[in-house]
Symmetry: C2
Subunit: 184 residues, 2 copies
């Protein structure tokens, strides 16, 4: 079975919040020839998440509040790519800014469309091992957050207990644990 991609026949900007959010309307041709002339498409910045594990095998996570939920959540390091910034460079920069740590070993956990239908950018996920402190944190994030050091059993329990409340955070943790399990 040959699966054909959808064709974009035309695109027009319908809303512009600059680098944070642009909405386009696309005209699309499906593989069977049907035309859809009002397909909304979301352009938001690509971002990274990083599960950082210290040299003594502690997982660096934040307790923080995000606007999407009134509840406190556990969260990995994360942030948007700067314009023209490489994803791995962004991951190293965010780890350093948010925690003051650097890490010796970086493993990609993949790159993913955030919304299969609408786009909404690409999430680049990483596992960083051998993290060690080299400076004080210097984040300019809007959120209040508290840095925690958890062991692997605590992270596993938190993951299946629903304590990571944002999709990409759960993805990053679940994938990191798989890679670590495989390596044992």
């Amino acid at each position: 079975m040959t699966l054909k991609p959808w064709k974009t026949l035309a695109r027009a900007k319908v809303l512009d919040y600059g680098k944070w959010l642009v909405i386009e309307k696309h005209t699309i041709e499906l593989p069977d020839g049907r035309i859809i002339d009002d397909w909304p498409w979301v352009i938001s910045p690509d971002y990274i998440n990083v599960i950082a594990v210290t040299e003594d095998r502690r997982f660096m996570l934040f307790r923080q509040v995000k606007y999407c939920t009134d509840e406190t959540s556990l969260a990995p390091v994360g942030g948007y790519l700067d314009p023209n910034e490489n994803a791995l460079d962004a991951a190293k920069r965010e780890l350093f800014e948010e925690t003051g740590y650097e890490a010796a070993d970086w493993i990609s956990l993949g790159q993913y469309c955030v919304d299969g239908n609408r786009g909404a950018g690409t999430a680049y996920l990483f596992l960083a091992q051998g993290a060690h402190q080299v400076a004080e944190p210097d984040a300019d994030d809007l959120e209040e957050q508290e840095l925690l050091f958890l062991d692997q059993a605590e992270v596993e329990q938190a993951l299946l207990g629903g304590e990571f409340k944002v999709l990409s955070w759960a993805t990053t943790v679940a994938l990191a644990l798989r890679v670590l399990d495989k390596a044992r």
Copy 2:
């Protein structure tokens, strides 16, 4: 350390694609008292993804193309909640419509904000075991897709090989594998 939620002081609709996408502009008060008066907020439908495993332990997955990527991807069952529909009901409905299967055992893999900053709906993820065919599939999805039956080793290899190209699909697979590992 007490973490306070952000307060929404005002909201206004700035773009309306009906049930598929609404964009609002929010005025927000941060915990430190700062005001942000142009925070974009994305309202898109909540959705479900289901990893279905048959009675003989085969994972039901699709090979399909999504608009966000020109590449073919592996994908679990998925779809939007109908208005006022319960997430588990939507998951059972989508499994039935897309495959003609029902499943005996349903486990929630959690619910997640799709975008911690912008909203973009909630993803409800499920593992369904004991799936068995009761009818022919009757999906009205726009995508061409091919149903595959993979064993667990093939699914694990595909996950870490980046063959699930949409964020919530990788999340669902990674969480399902963790739950299945724990149960062994």
